[in-house]
Point group: C2
Chain length 358, copies 2
Amino acid sequence: MAHKIAVLPGDGIGPEITEQAVRVLGALGLDLELHTEPVGGAAYDVHGHPLPASTLNLAKESAAILFGAVGDWKYDSLARELRPEQAILGLRKALGLFANLRPAILYPQLANASSLKPEVVSGLDILIVRELTGDIYFGQPRGVREVADGPFKGERQGFDTMHYAESEVRRIAHVAFQAAQKRSKKLCSVDKANVLETSQFWRDTVIEVAREYPDVALSHMYVDNAAMQLVRAPKEFDVVVTGNLFGDILSDEAAMLTGSIGMLPSASLNASNQGLYEPSHGSAPDIAGKNIANPLATILSAAMLLRYSLNEAGRADKIEEAVQAVLQQGLRTADIFEPGTTRVSTSEMGDAVLKALK
Amino acid sequence: MAHKIAVLPGDGIGPEITEQAVRVLGALGLDLELHTEPVGGAAYDVHGHPLPASTLNLAKESAAILFGAVGDWKYDSLARELRPEQAILGLRKALGLFANLRPAILYPQLANASSLKPEVVSGLDILIVRELTGDIYFGQPRGVREVADGPFKGERQGFDTMHYAESEVRRIAHVAFQAAQKRSKKLCSVDKANVLETSQFWRDTVIEVAREYPDVALSHMYVDNAAMQLVRAPKEFDVVVTGNLFGDILSDEAAMLTGSIGMLPSASLNASNQGLYEPSHGSAPDIAGKNIANPLATILSAAMLLRYSLNEAGRADKIEEAVQAVLQQGLRTADIFEPGTTRVSTSEMGDAVLKALK
Ligand SMILES: CC(C)[C@H](C(=O)O)[C@@H](O)C(=O)O
Ligand SMILES: CC(C)[C@H](C(=O)O)[C@@H](O)C(=O)O
């Protein structure tokens, strides 16, 4: 039976990078049924909404979603609920994609790209497991209200609610412990338990789940300290698990340690391994349509798609090896170019990966 | 009239680093009245509370507080409200210390200490202005409750409230704009307005305040992007203003970019320029009592104390010049030692600063 895949290219460089990943998926001898719909600003332009019903329905019916990127300055003046990013929040919530896997890997061939000293980052391989459907991202109540009492009584106040229920913490903890079991058996849970009740509850719950994983060494770190230690000695981290808000910040920080965010894929999974796969970088509208963007993060996202949603680890490995091979051949898009390597376009990079796959 | 100063040495290395800063304050020919009280774990040991009334009252009656550091593993099993860090939260709230100034400066003599490449960080000089008495740190309601409805109905849930009232945002924005006016006239406000109502309200309010500062160029950045850009190109930042939670994370990240957090002071001010001054680093209980800790962050905090609470900019400059001088002489405590420099103890570093002051 064919696997149904939703292809949502989105805005900016989204279409051109997604195109290369689609070519790669098509070259593996799999029975895939690919359907494309607009998302983000591109969907707003056509349907007046960043996540129209047609796109959402396709996503729901698919085994996996290959997502490009969303966002463009030209949508900045829209009301918040119509802005491109709302599509990604809407997809996460509607599909229950609670487990975000964000690897931060520094490929040896790209060690120079980092703003950190090579000895600090060479061989970096962190997996950040970010909870993606809870926390202050979706907590109610939220809005703007009048302050009821205290020193600011009568003033307007913006407010949000952070919260985590027990099973929300448990299920992401299980994902993280199981990921740690497959790696170095070290898990660091990041919170702000010295200040936040949500974090203390998170920490207590993670400690309970840890009893089921006696082979994994669990540690805890405050988020401010984690932001520091990622800069000081990132290689001391292996698997990190954290909430939605802290994960947003730390996964981007960790990605940037590599200096090559154009290389980093991500997966967002639900309980039935349905998943959304997207590069960690954004839509880069300034270089859109120029055929110079790096398609490798999206191609590696397609590899994650095969691994997690289609249970095709062998083919996922093949894609990852092909990406290593093109790096080894010295091929570089503009974002990772350095003297002595060969600069290629988006489509040439796609060609090279396809060739390496053969 | 003598200026009353509260000296709160605290735990770990707190006493020994504070001692050196007190010596420096005493050598400037000022009429100061210094009073010492325990805080944090040290206060818990004596009074059963990390911020006893005697300490809080002294702080309230003083023009400024010189604070060492709090925390030690031996208090980890205490209930949260008795843990050392609560003293610092309590002081901030009781004195209304809403404006936290956190410089991240990389001294040219210490450029090698950073984990970042020298060209990325040399000459780094960022000022993070963190709001310190609002946000999710103190928002009510908070706690653990039963979920009322939805998919997690009946489960236990940890929760917190993030909020900012209009005048809370306005007053910290004014501090930041005025700081920017004295520096490069660039201010970057960091929020998560694409997700949080509090952030959108923050952003709208900062934009309103900006009208009063037409000479300052205001920009906005999402917190996840800020965490990335601090790693990629930290020198593109000058003054950054942000809320309490994001400020906690970003100010620590920025501090660690320098690789020499033992050098970084901080000030926390209220509306009448009463202030608490403390090093940005922690209490380091593992090296406490060994006379090896770096006292320079605390000595530089004393300089900030003179500048902001005592209006003694000239003497503050003198201290900062003395610190530069000892670095130039090649003197280094263990944390910033490198081959070719002279390793000195905590008290020897204090001696050297005193000598340089003359
Ligand atoms: C676009 C935005 C809502 C989103 C988030 O904050 O989750 C993005 O930063 C991400 O990390 O995928
Ligand atoms: C100790 C802790 C409560 C505190 C904070 O989160 O504000 C600390 O991290 C700081 O930044 O001063």
